[in-house]
């Protein structure tokens, strides 16, 4: 029960505006020492060490570095505005470009912190400068930055493969269509919204001195360098030159090379970019460390056993089970991080699903879709914190919370589609 009270306490404390990381850490400290004594915290060095040795997370600073360099050299702005121009008078062009760039990043990493922060750096300033609605901008970035969790390669799918005993390759293949549909619906949403409310995403101003054709040619030329960079990152993964994590270093070094080519390079620029990178990286990892203290206290005070007990009360009938299981994961996703859900909750649900004759591959994809949503649900969705961390002060937490809601609705819609029409996604619900 202590775990549950602790969540409530953290929620209240967060509202006071003290840094999120240390609010998590401090609340955990109070409850942990109260319930178990100081020695509980002897586990902390091991937990910090496990973050240090989690080399997949190395992608976070490296992608952030790439994003910062692209931003400081104005190459990112150029990429997005040119893509926006390609869409011509279409309102929402920048948002659609953001989603497409986000989708490309998603295909090159499975680490949420990396892509949300990189997208926040690259695209938020551009959208705000072009008078985009704050909510639309932040929602688009959080949603497309989190795509990395469902679009392969993805950490969630790898963990689920391990927990459910499914080959990772099968999961990666099965996740492709749900990912594509999600991206498609995000774009449809932008198109519909900007038709109904054009003021939320004004079209790129046209340059009166140039014809439409000249404009397109200019845009295509401007797109090439930053797009080439993304192609290098993705290409290095697909050809096996680098692992997804390592590809982020190619991206960082590549961005510096681009800066040299475009005569934007200076040692000062690299140093300033390193400073920004360190600061933003520290923000992301401080949250991870605060959260690991939090989940440590939660589980060592019996929170995991309590959850187990509750879950055994789920109904044992096909539709009832699926719907309730999805609801439980969605709700728990508000509070608990996805690794804990994969390791604690999923193993309890899996045997029940199996005994009902449910196709485990389909079940795994449902869980993965659901878990990526958990990064976006207020108040604890990590993507929201990460974007807030790189957003200018005039973007408030509330803007981000409100901005994400339509995208969460889209995700729930896609989840429902996979539940009801698995064959649309090349899967079947049962064996």
């Amino acid at each position: 029960m202590i775990g549950m009270i602790m969540f409530a306490a953290a929620l209240v404390m967060l509202m006071l505006g003290f840094p999120v990381a240390f609010t998590f850490g401090g609340v955990a400290l109070f409850f942990g020492v109260f319930a178990q004594g100081m020695d509980l915290f002897a586990f902390m060095p091991y937990r910090i060490m496990s973050v240090m040795q989690n080399t997949v997370l190395m992608a976070v600073p490296l992608f952030i570095f790439m994003g910062v360099v692209l931003q400081r050299t104005k190459l990112a702005e150029q990429l997005l505005t040119s893509m926006g121009r390609l869409f011509g008078g279409l309102p929402g062009g920048l948002a659609i470009s953001t989603i497409l760039v986000g989708a490309l990043l998603a295909a090159s990493t499975g680490v949420v912190g990396a892509s949300v922060v990189a997208m926040g750096l690259i695209s938020l300033p551009v959208m705000l400068a072009h008078k985009y609605d704050k909510r639309l901008s932040t929602g688009t970035i959080c949603a497309s930055g989190t795509l990395g969790q469902i679009v392969p390669p993805s950490i969630i799918l790898i963990i689920l493969g391990d927990v459910l005993g499914l080959p990772v390759g099968d999961l990666f293949k099965a996740a492709v269509w749900p990912g594509v549909v999600l991206i498609g619906l995000y774009i449809v949403y932008i198109l519909v919204l900007t038709r109904l409310k054009p003021e939320t995403a004004p079209p790129m101003p046209e340059d009166p001195t140039r014809s439409r054709k000249q404009e397109i040619v200019a845009a295509l030329i401007a797109i090439i360098p930053p797009l080439a960079l993304i192609v290098v990152v993705l290409g290095s993964i697909f050809t096996g030159i680098a692992t997804p994590t390592e590809s982020s270093a190619l991206g960082g070094v590549g961005a510096v090379v681009l800066a040299i080519i475009y005569r934007q390079f200076s040692f000062k620029m690299v140093w300033e970019a390193a400073k920004d990178t360190v600061s933003v990286t520290a923000m992301v990892f401080a949250i991870l460390i605060g959260a690991t203290a939090f989940s440590m206290v939660f589980s060592y005070t019996g929170g995991d056993y309590l959850l187990e007990e509750w879950l055994t009360m789920l109904p044992g009938e096909h539709w009832g089970f699926i719907i309730l299981a999805m609801l439980v994961i969605l709700i728990l996703g508000f509070f608990i991080d996805f690794v804990e859900i994969s390791f604690i909750i999923v193993p309890i649900l899996a045997p029940v699903a199996e005994s009902l004759g449910i196709n485990m591959l389909w079940f795994a994809i449902l869980v993965a879709m659901n878990l990526q949503t958990s990064f976006l649900t207020p108040p604890f969705g990590f993507s929201l914190f990460y974007l807030k961390g790189v957003a200018p002060p005039e973007v408030r937490t509330v803007d981000i919370y409100r901005g994400i809601i339509p995208f969460i609705a889209i995700q729930i819609l896609v989840l429902a589609l996979i539940v009801v029409f698995p064959e649309w996604f090349g899967m079947s619900a049962t064996y």
Partner: protein, 333 residues
């Protein structure tokens, strides 16, 4: 009557097959045999987050017990390397005989005691497979510069014959092998390899030589052990020994099933054995590395000596019993 709750940290994730089943069986056996006087609480890696911190946590008393493998502590205490499995070493029966009748347990105690720990055999995987390769290995030259995920001492032996041991995060292993970032992966055996899907992307499955009898371990904090009354200690001992035995036979069973499935569903997979020149080179490399280890530590020298002598003696008997029988079968079938 006094009751004890022992907290056990295992290196594996929750529900990890075979390895995790072993701790669960241990828990059941102990709780039943002691009529509830001992309770075991198992924490898997997702809870303590320190799969390779089990040694330190049991040593410091944060956990009372652990379930792991001795060779993981090689970087901390080099002599712990010898109590899991050695390249070209004993098979499971021979190694169990060495532990319980050939002086192995005493040597293990000597190594672990200074660290306030006791170590007991904790289940065996049997012969581990030599790994998944994307290209056939026909000669020593094919191994030169080959990039392979192969950790620990076996990696050192491979390195001696020209392989490039490479670190890849477990989560990226599949992608790395699929896209030729690395050329080969060593994991465990069919039952556990199947879960990672290597059979989908690599055709050549090599037979093993490097870990002929991988023995897991139960670690117990010595102070905690000494607090238990003699009858409970005996219950613990018997439960550890029986769950270790169970793991050996469960490994045999699960691997046989998994291998039958791989053969049926993945006809692309071919079983291969390294050519003799490679084995010969690795055999020499192994001897050289053991010699170095013996020169660096008296304790290591003592263990290596004991294992070598025991292997010689018991292999002579294996030759006229198990091997003779298997050869006979091979002739008539």
């Amino acid at each position: 009557q006094e009751t004890f709750t022992l907290r056990l940290a295992e290196t594996w994730g929750p529900n990890f097959p075979i390895f995790g089943d072993t701790t669960k069986r241990f828990k059941e056996t102990v709780e039943k045999m002691s009529d509830g006087r001992i309770r075991i609480r198992i924490d898997s890696a997702n809870k303590h987050k320190a799969p390779l911190g089990v040694f330190d946590m049991v040593k410091a008393g944060q956990y009372d017990m652990g379930h792991s493998a001795s060779y993981y502590w090689k970087g901390k205490v080099p002599e712990t390397l010898f109590f899991t499995s050695m390249p070209f070493g004993m098979n499971a029966i021979e190694q169990y005989a060495w532990f319980y009748y050939g002086g192995g347990m005493e040597l293990m105690e000597e190594v672990y005691e200074p660290h306030n720990l006791l170590s007991f055999p904790g289940g065996n995987t049997g012969v581990q497979m030599g790994g998944w390769f994307r290209k056939e290995i026909k000669s020593l030259d094919d191994l030169k510069g080959l990039k392979m995920r192969i950790p620990g001492f076996a990696g050192e032996v491979f390195a001696e014959v020209g392989v490039n041991p490479t670190n890849i995060a477990p989560g990226e292993l599949y992608t790395a092998l699929e896209r030729n970032t690395i050329d080969a992966v060593e994991w465990v055996g069919p039952a556990l390899d199947l879960r990672l899907g290597f059979q989908q992307i690599a055709d050549y499955y090599y037979t093993g030589w490097h870990e002929p009898a991988t023995e897991l371990q139960f670690l117990v904090n010595k102070k905690v052990w000494e607090k238990l009354p003699a009858d409970l200690q005996e219950i613990m001992r018997v439960a550890m020994r029986s769950s270790a035995y169970d793991m050996l036979i469960q490994s045999q069973h699960a691997n046989a099933e998994a291998w039958a499935n791989i053969k049926k569903d993945y006809p692309n997979v071919k079983i291969k054995k390294f050519p003799k020149e490679i084995f010969q080179a690795m055999y020499e490399a192994n001897k050289k590395l053991l010699k170095e280890a013996a020169e660096n530590s008296e304790m290591a020298a003592k263990i290596i000596e004991s294992q070598r002598n025991y292997l010689q003696k018991s292999r002579a008997y294996t030759d006229i019993s198990e091997r003779a029988y298997l050869n006979t079968m091979a002739e008539v079938e």
